[in-house]
């Protein structure tokens, strides 16, 4: 087993925020501490979850009745475009970067990220492009309104003919988001490869680290295509070039290839860390080792590799020739195999365990339940003849919300609750957490389950008005969406009040195995400081009597001492 050493000077670096590590102002500074950056990311992202959720409720308000009566359709188009963009680029990507920042260094025993300044830069790009994106609401003509795909020619029509328009700001924001993610990815990959604690070979890493590595490599491989495509789109829009304009011999379908080459894997970039979260939490709350650790670890890379060769399944009806449709149907279907391996492993982990239904566990179980459903509708969408009927209908909307909210956001909530005591040093209120879970699960199910039927009956996505036969499904969905809005209240209450005056948290409240649980809550600035633990065994050895690190007792005692 290789032992990875890193530069000891890193450990001795000065505290980046001179006024003492616990000054609240550190969250508003160019702080290079990964734990501060992590919280900066998470809080910013949760703020945008509220904005994106507000837009979602406006959308569902319009769709609760068949005619377009709440907004002008142009306004509706802008709202749903911004809803998708904000949820993906301002909520999901940043919040996952936040969790990754919080968890990676302590989980691998590193004092910080490999490139702390780049890390801070990657974060501070988020408010910059967020403000650019939000400003687009106020430019003449309104924000981008061609959907988050921004397919040309619709995206480059620029009806008012102004240089500065919503679409242009949108492209700039997305490109900056891409740059931020690439910087983040370089940082995460380097940190994981170079800065693991002694003894932590690849097959002793926690699964979360495996999935982060798989996801961030995917960012590095895929993002250049999207960012390149976005720059070409910018040129077509602003300078009248013809990459995608037919007037100059360009081809609009080319953009779809650039877009989906990244944007399909992007879903895996988001879902892989959530698979990691599931793999971390199920063993803790069922008191059992993760079933088939090595298999689950390797399956992450199976997903990474396959996800790079499936993008054409978004283009089954764009005129793609038969052989290509069939080929991409096979590759897409194959993703079900490594994903299935993970699902079965989680269920086997639960089997015969000692299940504790805490808030994080409830979110994990709910997320897994929804993911099995969303995975099955995903296989349906992968089959060409079914996709030709339900593609671009509400069936797809329902499917991807089952993945992106009912699985990914559930996993994120689970992670927030699970690691909240570790990084804030406070316990949250279990009762409020359970209310949050119940409202979220009911709201999410009511919101997206009925929409599958609207799609099967042929209701296209992105419509501002629809034929009356789809009304019943939409009324149910809108009620669900409003319940989801209400669900944010106990969550916000819980987070704010627990952080301010919650019970102080012990180092390891869940009796979990993992390097981060050997640290005090909250961990000191440089995590293990000079006493980096030596890892002996695989993680998750619940009930196996195999110590995770050498001298475990030393770290437990140290973590109990108040620093």
């Amino acid at each position: 087993m290789t032992i990875v050493n890193y530069d000891p000077r890193l450990v001795k670096s000065k505290n980046p925020y001179p006024k003492g590590p616990n000054d609240w102002k550190r969250f508003f500074s160019f702080n290079t501490d990964a734990k501060v950056i992590g919280i900066q990311y998470i809080v910013t992202a949760l703020f945008f979850l509220l904005i994106g959720g507000l837009l979602a409720m406006l959308i569902r308000g319009e769709l609760i009745t068949p005619p377009s009566d709440l907004f002008d359709p142009t306004v509706y188009n802008g709202l749903y475009t911004m809803h998708g963009t904000i949820m993906l680029f301002l909520f999901l990507f940043p919040i996952l970067s936040g969790l990754t920042n919080l968890l990676v260094p302590p989980m691998i025993g590193a004092p910080d990220m490999a490139f702390p300044k780049l890390n801070a830069l990657a974060f501070w790009l988020v408010p910059v492009f967020s403000i650019i994106l939000l400003l687009s609401f106020f430019v003449p003509g309104g924000p981008a309104s061609s959907g988050w795909w921004s397919y040309p020619p619709i995206s480059i029509q620029n009806p008012l003919g102004q240089i500065i328009n919503g679409e242009m700001l949108w492209i700039i924001a997305i490109s900056l988001s891409g740059i931020s993610s690439i910087i983040g990815a370089v940082n995460f990959v380097t940190t994981i490869i170079r800065m693991r604690a002694p003894g932590m070979g690849f097959f002793k890493m926690p699964i979360f680290i495996w999935t982060v590595l798989a996801a961030q490599l995917l960012q590095l491989l895929g993002l250049p295509a999207l960012t390149g495509g976005a720059i070409m789109l910018f040129f077509d829009l602003t300078f009248g070039t013809s990459f995608f304009r037919i007037e100059g011999g360009g081809d609009p379908v080319l953009f779809q290839h650039f877009f989906w080459f990244y944007s399909h894997p992007a879903v895996y970039v988001m879902v892989l860390p959530v698979f990691g979260i599931f793999s971390e939490l199920f063993p803790v709350y069922s008191r059992k080792p993760l079933f088939g650790y090595k298999f689950v670890a390797v399956a992450s890379f199976g997903i990474t590799i396959l996800s790079l060769v499936v993008w054409v399944h978004h283009m089954f009806y764009t005129g793609t020739p038969m052989w290509m449709r069939n080929l991409f149907m096979f590759t897409t279907m194959l993703i079900a195999v490594p994903t299935g391996v993970k699902v079965f492993a989680w269920i086997a982990t639960l089997w015969g365990g000692n299940i504790r239904l805490t808030t994080p566990m409830l979110f994990c179980l709910g997320g897994l339940f929804n993911f099995i459903f969303g995975g099955i509708t995903g296989v349906m969408l992968a089959t060409v003849p079914v996709d030709i009927h339900v593609g671009n209908t509400y069936f797809v909307v329902a499917h991807f919300h089952y993945i992106i909210f009912n699985t990914i956001a559930f996993g994120i909530f689970a992670a927030i609750y699970h690691w909240f005591p570790k990084f804030t040093g406070r316990m949250f209120y279990e009762g409020l957490g359970k209310v949050h879970f119940a409202l979220t699960f009911i709201g999410a199910t009511l919101n997206w389950l009925p929409l599958h039927w609207a799609g099967l009956l042929g209701m296209p996505r992105r419509v501002a008005s629809y034929d009356p036969e789809f009304a019943i499904w939409n009324v149910l969905a809108s009620i669900g969406a409003f319940i989801l809005g209400v669900a944010s209240i106990p969550f916000i209450l819980n987070m704010v009040s627990s952080w301010v005056r919650g019970k102080s948290a012990p180092p390891n409240p869940w009796k979990a195995i993992g390097l981060e649980w050997l640290l005090p809550s909250p961990p000191p600035h440089e995590n293990f400081e000079e006493d980096i633990p030596t890892v002996l065994n695989e993680p998750y050895c619940y009930g196996l009597d195999k110590p995770f690190v050498e001298d475990e007792q030393f770290y437990i005692e140290k973590s109990l001492k108040k620093h």
Partner: protein, 311 residues
């Protein structure tokens, strides 16, 4: 810990029995869901529809089996494996089981390969998509010589922001698409501005229409009636209004319609988006920017906007 060991030892016959009952129940429910799944879909009005529906029902059956299998197991665990309050002891320390892991890799692999092969065969049966030919901007839309046999056509399907126009081989223009039942009709799909999508849910068929290309497409309606044609690719402000009707008629009525329509003068066709835009202008042009809707199409048969549809 003790109770757990007892539970495992007890297993034997009763455990196998429960599993068999559960599997039978699951198979029954899955078949029922597969049977129900037909009712979730619109009327079957084309040759493609029953292939698509059969495939969907097949996937629903298998999907239900997997879903209930997994979530049923989860429910079982939640009922029988809950830790009593304050019990923080560990569960059985199972680290894995190679045989089981190989099974749950191979079985899904075979399953998805099977479904893909089945779908591939359906694809070859349907063969709706003809050729896609690019042409220069501003040039005449090229005539595509289809080698394939079809009974009627080609009908030009012209999509715009935001109306549809259909041009028949004898030169008549219509706002609604009239088709003869049980005849394979051929189309040339054309767009004058952005990407649109030719989608008729009752036919289970959808084809994007790409600027700068002409795509040939054929399909056989199998049921008389009125079906909605919806633009399924977002095309801007009045995208949701970009719908019209497909009217499938007996051959006799269809040819009668052709004969009568040819005598009609050109008039303004359906253009609901244009009307909404005029309303917006009257109300002070509030809202965010949009391109102007295309003018009313000039057609021989203006169609009826509020015609009741079967699906």
């Amino acid at each position: 810990m003790n109770t757990k060991i007892r539970r495992i030892k007890k297993s034997g016959f009763s455990k196998t029995f429960i599993i068999i009952i559960a599997v039978i129940l699951n198979i029954g429910l899955s078949l029922l869901m597969g049977y129900w799944s037909y009712s979730w879909l619109p009327i079957q009005a084309s040759e493609a529809a029953h292939y698509v529906d059969n495939l969907f029902a097949f996937e629903t059956t298998i999907g239900t089996f997997i879903f209930l299998g997994c979530t049923g197991t989860m429910a079982w665990i939640l009922v029988f494996n809950r830790a009593p309050k304050y019990d923080e002891s560990n569960g059985e320390p199972l680290e894995g089981n190679l045989k089981l892991e190989i099974i749950w890799t191979i079985v899904p692999l075979l399953l998805v390969l099977g479904i893909s092969t089945y779908s591939t065969r359906v694809n070859y049966k349907l063969e709706n998509l003809g050729s896609k030919i690019k042409y220069d901007y501003g040039a005449e839309v090229p005539f595509v010589d289809e080698k394939k046999v079809f009974d009627y056509g080609p009908i030009d399907v012209i999509s715009r922001q935001w109306n549809w126009e259909f041009v028949y081989p004898n030169g008549i223009h219509s706002s609604e698409l009239h088709l003869p039942v049980d005849k394979k009709s051929n189309f040339r799909l054309i767009t004058e501005d952005v990407i649109h999508s030719f989608y008729v849910p009752a036919f289970r068929l959808k084809q994007d229409i790409i600027p700068g290309s002409v795509i040939t497409y054929s399909l056989t309606p199998t049921k008389e009636g009125v079906f909605r044609l919806r633009d399924a690719m977002f095309s801007g402000a009045y995208f949701s209004e970009n719908q019209t009707n497909v009217i499938v008629e007996s051959e006799e009525i269809f040819y009668k319609w052709i004969k009568e329509t040819v005598k009609k003068e050109l008039q303004n066709g359906l253009n609901p988006a244009g009307n909404l835009y005029q309303k917006r202008l009257r109300n002070g042009n509030r809202g965010w920017a949009t391109v102007k809707p295309a003018p009313d199409p000039k057609v021989n048969d203006a169609g009826i906007e509020s015609r009741p549809h079967d699906s």
